[in-house]
């Protein structure tokens, strides 16, 4: 029966060309931006949601999908991945995150996306229809991606993050926004932005152990200050370049790094800043104020005092994996589980990112964990849909089931965030996508072995 279903989905995908008109009938629609609508139909036309309502009369010849008892949700958006850029995280040749160089704003994640990556179909079948892809996952620990092979460990600006669909023939097909953010790994005293950077040995302890100043707090602080200064200089230089460019100075030479900085300086592209600790977030906010740039904070491991600041300055946050260990040994065991609820209570806008490819398909379950630990359900749902779309400037097209939006739709037999829920159908930009992948194929194949 199940196998039959899969075959059907394959067949459906084969003739569901983009632009096909489809009516999903009698479904319970969860628009996310409004109250659920029971027993309504959704009309998909030209890749968009053309209509939603109880009484849509289908035009002759269009395909009708009976969805009685099923639910329609907007496709989910994972706000932090390396999809298409990393295939087997342990094999260098298959990983294209974490380039050499400290300041690399000109690098574009989009151009290194392998549309044939096995990860795309694997995450799709769980309802992830779009994703932010980062040129480096932020270095450091946690099985994180970027920076393991290239010069990523030393990166400060890693390049341009793109917003993509999880389906398409080429990276151009998949593109939603090739420069949705500039990725900055904010320097921090506790190592780099990511977790597990290894806090430096406190000065007094270093002294006790007879360690030189090189491992002490003083040295870490000095390195940090040097990096901050360098970062400031880079932005200042970019601004000088911007001025020179505007003034048509004779002998002006085009510089690709600084060209890439201009949309940031013009506040057209936000800077996504990896910052783990509250103090780093505070410093990052101060930096953003000084440079007059728009920012999004990535993967904070604590909010603490920074929460009020984020709220006051209206700065959104992408929370990393909810299913994560506490940062410090004496932190509450559920520190990472309760972080989303904490962000919500502080009034901070946030989305979720999984930050390694193998956990992207668990995005809805990460959100569910946040619900178990105090986040209102509706907020969890928004964090994987509309809030994410808003943060990445795509809320006019993605993130909800609304007339006129791109038809990224997930048809399920239950609650989108519940593990046992099965995805029954999937539409990306109006095209029905087969619910098959390398794993379902192996499953089919070895189910046959007697």
């Amino acid at each position: 029966m199940k196998r039959f279903g899969l075959l059907m989905a394959c067949a459906a995908a084969a003739f569901a060309a983009s632009g096909e008109t489809v009516l999903i009938r009698n479904a319970d629609v969860y628009p996310v931006t409004g109250a659920p609508m029971k027993g309504v139909s959704v009309l998909i036309q030209d890749g968009k949601i053309a209509d939603i309502g109880p009484k849509i009369v289908p035009a002759k010849g269009i395909r009708i999908v009976e969805a009685k008892g099923l639910r329609v949700y907007p496709g989910m958006l994972d706000s932090g991945t390396e999809l298409g850029l990393s295939e087997i995280s342990g094999v260098r040749e298959t990983v294209d995150t974490g380039e050499l160089g400290e300041f690399m704003p000109q690098l574009r994640a989009l151009v290194a996306v392998n549309p044939e990556s096995e990860h795309f179909p694997v995450v799709r079948v769980n309802g992830i229809t779009s994703a932010m892809i980062f040129p480096s996952s932020g270095g450091g620990g946690g099985g994180g991606g970027g920076g393991r092979f290239g010069g990523g460990e030393r990166q400060i600006i890693s390049g341009q993050a793109a917003l993509i669909h999880t389906d398409g023939w080429t990276w151009e097909d998949m593109e939603i926004n090739r420069s949705a953010a500039l990725h900055l790994i904010f320097p921090s005293i506790a190592g780099r932005g990511g977790r597990g950077g290894g806090a430096p040995v406190p000065e007094n302890v270093a002294e006790m152990l007879g360690l030189g100043a090189a491992t002490g707090y003083t040295q870490a602080r000095r390195t940090y200050e040097q990096q901050i200064a360098k970062l400031g200089d880079f932005f200042d230089d970019a601004r000088k370049y911007q001025k020179a460019r505007g003034a048509h100075v004779p002998g002006f030479q085009r510089d690709l790094k600084f060209e890439a900085m201009i949309p940031v300086l013009e506040r057209k592209v936000p800077v996504a800043i990896t910052a783990s600790r509250a103090s780093t977030i505070h410093d990052a906010i101060a930096f953003a104020e000084k440079q007059n740039i728009q920012i999004v904070i990535l993967q904070p491991r604590e909010l603490g005092k920074a929460a009020a600041e984020l709220k006051a300055k209206n700065i959104p946050v992408v929370l990393g994996r909810v299913l994560a260990l506490p940062e410090n040994e004496d932190d509450p065991y559920d520190g990472a589980f309760t972080l989303p609820a904490e962000a919500y209570k502080a009034g901070v806008k946030f989305a979720f990112g999984t930050f390694t490819n193998e956990f992207v398909r668990d995005l809805p379950y990460q959100a569910a964990t946040a619900v178990a630990f105090g986040l209102p359900y509706d907020e969890a749902l928004k964090a994987v849909t509309i809030n994410a779309a808003q943060i990445w400037g795509a809320a006019d097209r993605l993130g909800s089931v609304e007339k006129g939006k791109v038809a990224d739709l997930v048809v399920t037999d239950g609650d989108l965030l519940e593990i046992q829920t099965q995805v029954k159908r999937l539409y990306i930009a109006g095209k029905e996508v087969a619910l098959t992948n390398k794993q379902t194929r192996l499953y089919e194949k070895y189910s046959e072995r007697q």
Binding site: D334, Y365, Q420, R449
Partner: protein
């Protein structure tokens, strides 16, 4: 007099394990279905399970209304509570080392696992060697000493490892975590791994024959000098005698099949294949050998040998009659094995009860401790977990965890105790600051010229 004193001590011992009744919960027994009812706990054991039970006088009553009660979760693959490194990577056969010698009862991961409903875990040596160190299951008796963590009476094990990890030391140039400064260590290929294991059992077999011959002659009344005890071969001899379980880290189908054939040739059994991500490809052979399989629910793609991993693995292997468990191998994942079991329902349609068994009864069977733990049955250890919601879901959170009838984790106490803990921490920090100021009044952090 002396005897009476000992008797009194014995009588005192279960005091911590009071009589407890968990009332009106949805009780998921695993072996005897799910019922709305109560569980009576006496002397650390489950004394009664039923829809209606008598509450013994003086019993502590825990209200389980709208809550779910399941057997304590068992993780068949963990490295927590092991002090320092868990790999003795200098030799290919490191059976002389034992996890029991490095247990650290103060590892915070024990408490965190407990807070995720884990009551028992198999603590394994790492995977750097074809034949690794000795292993054993522990209970998460947080607050007790190292010796008290050990699951008393449980059969000990030994870790084997196949594939990329044990190969790595043989190839210092390649791969994540490879040592670049040390000399290559045999083996560097899957062929070499087979050979390493065969060589070891060749030796172990000869060693066993030597001891068997000695014991036979001693039994006949001869007085002899015993053979020299070999600490490397002793655990392998125990494997040959069926006195020690083999838990074999494995990924690819070929290496799984290889180890089954090696074990067949030398006449021992593989108790469990661990990770066993391609187990679904050779499920028939694993089942025929009688080995269990302890796998991840959905981990994949982190290395080449994990690229054919499928989340249907558990379901497919179970369908072939293999006793399957879901493990963590990770201090974080360990904290939500309940929802990992939910994934077995999603991928491959395992029933609710069979999925729950994959993190309770099945790992108990694999570790040979199912007479004690793994289900809610009269006479078994009162290792129990109370969840606030249907447990095979990420919406559920652990409320209370009991081991041997003692509450080791209580979320209400945990949460309400936080302000006091925070205050205590602050006090210590303040005290330290004062000490520092008193000792070094002129010192400012970051001040130049501090210590050059």
């Amino acid at each position: 007099m002396n005897k009476a004193w000992i008797a009194a001590l014995i009588a005192l011992a279960p005091l911590s394990a009071e009589t407890i009744v968990i009332q009106n919960a949805t009780v998921m027994t695993v072996t005897k279905g799910t019922l709305k009812g109560s569980v009576v706990i006496k002397d650390g054991k489950i004394a009664e399970v039923g829809e209606k039970v008598m509450v013994p006088q003086g019993a502590t009553v825990i209200d389980g209304t709208n809550q779910y009660l399941i057997p304590g979760i068992i993780d068949c693959h963990s490295h927590i509570a092991a002090d320092g490194g868990i790999n003795e990577g200098s030799v290919s056969v490191s059976s002389m080392v034992d996890i029991k010698d490095v247990l650290n009862p103060e590892d915070i991961a024990i408490y965190r696992a407990l807070a995720g409903g884990v009551t028992t875990a198999n603590i394994l040596h790492g995977s750097a060697n074809a034949i690794g160190g000795c292993t054993l299951p522990i209970k998460m008796r947080w607050g007790k000493d190292a010796q008290s963590l050990i699951f008393e009476g449980a059969m000990p094990g030994i870790k084997f490892a196949l594939g990329e990890n044990p190969k790595r030391a043989g190839n210092p140039q390649g791969g994540r975590g490879a040592a670049t400064t040390v000399q290559a260590r045999y083996p560097a290929t899957r062929m070499g791994i087979e050979d390493t294991i065969r060589e070891a059992f060749n030796e172990a077999k000869a060693y066993k024959e030597e001891w068997d011959a000695y014991n036979a002659r001693v039994a006949r009344g001869e007085h002899l000098i015993p053979p020299r005890k070999d600490l490397k071969l002793e655990p392998l001899k125990e494997v040959l005698e069926g006195k020690r379980y083999v838990h074999a880290h494995s990924y690819r189908a070929d290496e799984i099949l290889m180890l089954i054939r090696v074990a067949d040739d030398y006449g021992f059994k593989i108790r469990t294949f661990q990770h066993v991500l391609e187990g679904y490809k050779v499920a028939k052979e694993i089942a025929a050998h009688g080995a269990g399989a302890s796998t991840f629910s959905d981990w994949w793609s982190y290395k080449v040998e994990a690229f054919d991993a499928i989340p249907y693995n558990a379901a497919l292997m179970a369908k072939k009659g293999i006793v399957v468990s879901l493990n963590s191998d990770d201090a974080e994942l360990m904290r939500h094995l309940n929802s990992e079991a939910g994934k077995a329902m999603k991928y491959g349609g395992v029933s609710e009860n069979d999925a729950l068994a994959m993190v309770t009864l099945n790992p108990a069977k694999q570790l040979g401790i199912d007479n004690r733990v793994g289900s809610i049955e009269v006479g078994k250890d009162a290792d129990l977990v109370i969840f606030d919601k249907f447990p095979l879901s990420d919406y559920a959170k652990v409320q209370k965890v009991l081991i041997d009838g003692t509450v080791y984790f209580d979320r209400d106490n945990e949460v309400s105790g936080r302000p006091a803990k925070q205050a205590e921490k602050q006090k210590l920090i303040d005290k330290e600051k004062q000490n520092q100021q008193r000792q070094q009044p002129a010192r400012r952090p970051g001040a130049p010229g501090g210590q050059q």
